[in-house]
């Protein structure tokens, strides 16, 4: 099942490259993503029944931590494919993309999904790095799809800064291999995560703490942690909206996943809280800087990109804090943030198509103009700022409780960040959804299934935690201790 999950998007990518911009290409894209999700769900059932497993000669593995992220990735990519059908059709009518670029768009979308799933499922820390770089490369040209000067600038920044960042992570991986090789011997076996986690107390602590600094800078750039976040608001706001949704909702999670995997090894080797402290520092700084940047934004997609930085900061902070409650909260936070943020981007995409601008001052009267888009955006923002009964409230509540217990001095900073973000987002969104419909607003048919589905899931997760998820989270907490 695991190998099927990886093969489907790869095959879909090749097929779409050949099909090109036919009438049914978006449908193939949806079918490919749906098949990926089916395989992901199948894998989840298998893991639930039989527990963690290895596949493909120890090369791939799945445990409680990566199984839920794989299902999440395949699910969000499926709903994004559904959203993208209607959205991209509109973009074509507006003349922003042509034949060749649509072919490219669909093929690269599937390749990107493949790269993310490979990141999650590979057992080899080196291959994890390669897949992460592949995920970056496959989205660079999607960010510049519209070929406007700003889009090209954003994509170039994304390419260069992430390339530099991720190069640091490779150096960290080399150091990790250097330490591992002494214990496990030479060859591919020494980079397998399952082996490394088994022998992590025997790894050389000095080398590992040095390696973690490089890994933190490298993968931290991809998570979008301040001060390495410069590329993120540009890249997430200039590309087509379906791409913004998967970049914000999925790719940031994947980078954080890689970072957390490395942290577990370093913790095992050093036996101190060194790595956790670094992550807490970066996380808290990201929350505060992003929250205050939210106040000054004028572009709607840029604003929500900063919100992504803030939420990734929260999750990084919680993983750094450690302990069962905070880790549980962080795992849940990755899940609900991803669902809520991609849903917000779906509505934002429609809203900016209706007004043909991304400037928030010109977006008005969404409640009356298109209730689904208006209410979808409103509820999405309510969820993302952490209002009960949505799932983000639960995860943020858990993280706050753990902070009060383990690091009480940091609680005011965390609360300040959350409060500022709350105020900034609410002020903006109210002026966009309320009021009369402006003359330049064009009605359009929105893709409602993805938005409704995501919001329903975020709501359900705030009220009731399914048994399988609970079990996985508890196992993952044990794993990441």
């Amino acid at each position: 099942m695991l190998l099927v999950l990886l093969l489907v998007p790869l095959v879909a990518s090749v097929i779409l490259a050949f099909v090109g911009d036919r009438k049914f290409a978006p449908e193939i894209n949806i079918m490919g993503s749906a098949a990926t999700f089916a395989a992901g769900a199948g894998l989840a059932v298998q893991v639930y029944m039989e527990g963690p497993m290895l596949a493909g000669g120890k090369f791939f593995f799945v445990d409680a931590f990566n199984v839920y992220l794989s299902v999440l990735t395949s699910f969000v990519s499926m709903t994004t494919a559904v959203f993208s059908r209607r959205y991209m059709r509109k973009e074509r009518e507006h003349g922003r993309v042509g034949h060749i670029r649509m072919r490219f768009y669909h093929a690269m979308f599937q390749l990107f999904i493949f790269a993310m799933l490979l990141c999650l499922l590979t057992n080899n820390v080196g291959v994890l790095w390669i897949a992460m770089e592949l995920a970056t490369l496959s989205t660079v040209l999607l960010v510049s799809l519209y070929r406007t000067p700003t889009a090209i600038e954003a994509a170039w920044k994304y390419f260069i800064l992430c390339g530099v960042g991720i190069a640091q992570a490779l150096f960290g991986t080399v150091l990790l291999y250097f330490a591992a090789e002494k214990v496990l011997g030479e060859g591919g076996e020494a980079l397998l995560w399952t082996n490394l986690s088994r022998i992590s107390p025997e790894l050389e602590p000095t080398v590992l703490s040095l390696a973690f600094v490089f890994l933190m800078v490298g993968y931290g750039t991809k998570v979008g942690l301040v001060p390495l976040h410069n590329w993120l608001p540009d890249a997430h706001s200039e590309g087509p909206t379906p791409i913004s949704a998967v970049l914000s909702g999925l790719l940031l999670n994947i980078a954080l996943y890689a970072l957390v995997r490395c942290k577990v090894l370093v913790d095992g080797a050093t036996g101190t809280h060194h790595a956790g402290n670094i992550m807490m520092g970066f996380g808290l700084l990201s929350i505060l800087v992003a929250a205050f940047s939210l106040l000054r934004q004028k572009d709607i997609k840029r604003m929500f990109s900063y919100s992504s930085i803030e939420h990734m900061g929260i999750a990084t902070f919680a993983f750094g804090l450690g302990g069962p409650v905070a880790t549980f909260g962080a795992l849940l936070h990755m899940l609900v943030h991803s669902l809520a943020k991609s849903s917000i981007f779906f509505t934002v995409g429609h809203a900016s198509q209706m007004h043909r601008t991304q400037e928030m001052d010109r977006i008005r009267g969404l409640f009356r103009g298109n209730p689904l888009v208006g209410w979808g955006l409103m509820l999405g923002v309510m969820a993302i700022v952490g209002m009960p009964p949505f799932g983000i409230f639960t995860s943020e509540f858990l993280i706050l409780t753990a902070t009060m217990k383990d690091a009480p001095l940091l609680t005011p900073f965390l609360l300040l960040g959350l409060a500022v973000a709350f105020a900034a987002l609410f002020r903006r969104v109210q002026s966009m959804v309320a009021g009369d419909v402006p003359s330049y607003q064009k009605p359009m048919k929105a893709a409602h299934v993805p938005v409704l589905l995501h919001m329903a899931l975020v709501l359900v997760l705030g009220i009731y935690m399914p048994d399988f998820l609970n079990k996985w989270f508890h196992t993952a907490v044990e794993l990441l201790k």
Binding site: N124, G126, V127, W129, I130, E133, L134, L137, V140, L141, S144, R147, T148, P149, T150, I152, E153, A154, A155, W156, K157, F159, I160, G163, V164, A167, L170, F171, T173, V174, L175, Y177, F178, E181, K182, E186, G187, G188, A190, L191, E204, T206, V207, L210, D234, E238, S293, R296, K298
Partner: protein, 221 residues
Amino acid sequence: MNINIASQINSFLAALVLLTAFGMLVQRRMYGLVHLFAWQGLFLSLNTAIVGFVADRHHLYISSVLTLTLKVILLPYILHVLIQRLKVHKEVETVVNIPMTMLIGIALVIFSYHLMAPVRELSTLVTRSTLAVALATVMIGLLMMITRKHAVTQIIGFLAMENGLFFAATSATYGMPLVVELGVALDILIAAFIFGIFFFHIHTTFDSLDVEKMARLKEED
């Protein structure tokens, strides 16, 4: 081959790699940069082959040939063609404050030696003394990307960083496992494809490859 001689050849080649890195830091002509990059690749490839021979690691021969084809022949060729097509070979970049950049470069080398000292003591390999040089090459590549404002130069800085990383893998551990090295090479190849496309896009949109002109996306107040 005698281990002692091998270690000396290794150090000599490391010195040459570092020298080319410094050369790139100050070279203003596009073709000159590409040639320096090709030389650096050649030294790396030679070094990898020698280490492979001394340490009896046959997979290093494959890495060596891979470096030779990718970084000495293919990438410089692609860059050459791109520079010619886009007619930027006459563009001479104004590099500000060369002596200062050189001094920062030297400081980075010292810093790298300091940072790698504990790792070197743990290592028993012939190549352990060159690990600091590898990190210095990465850092100088980074410095080059920060200080230079031309798209081609930034890409060469990026590739020089990748060279440093490859060198680090050879010095610290006699190379990463083969599957990882092949994967990294594939990523570089895709990156080369992408920056090729990018050069054309930037050129047609901004009429120049000067990245200073790309300054529309700023934080508004």
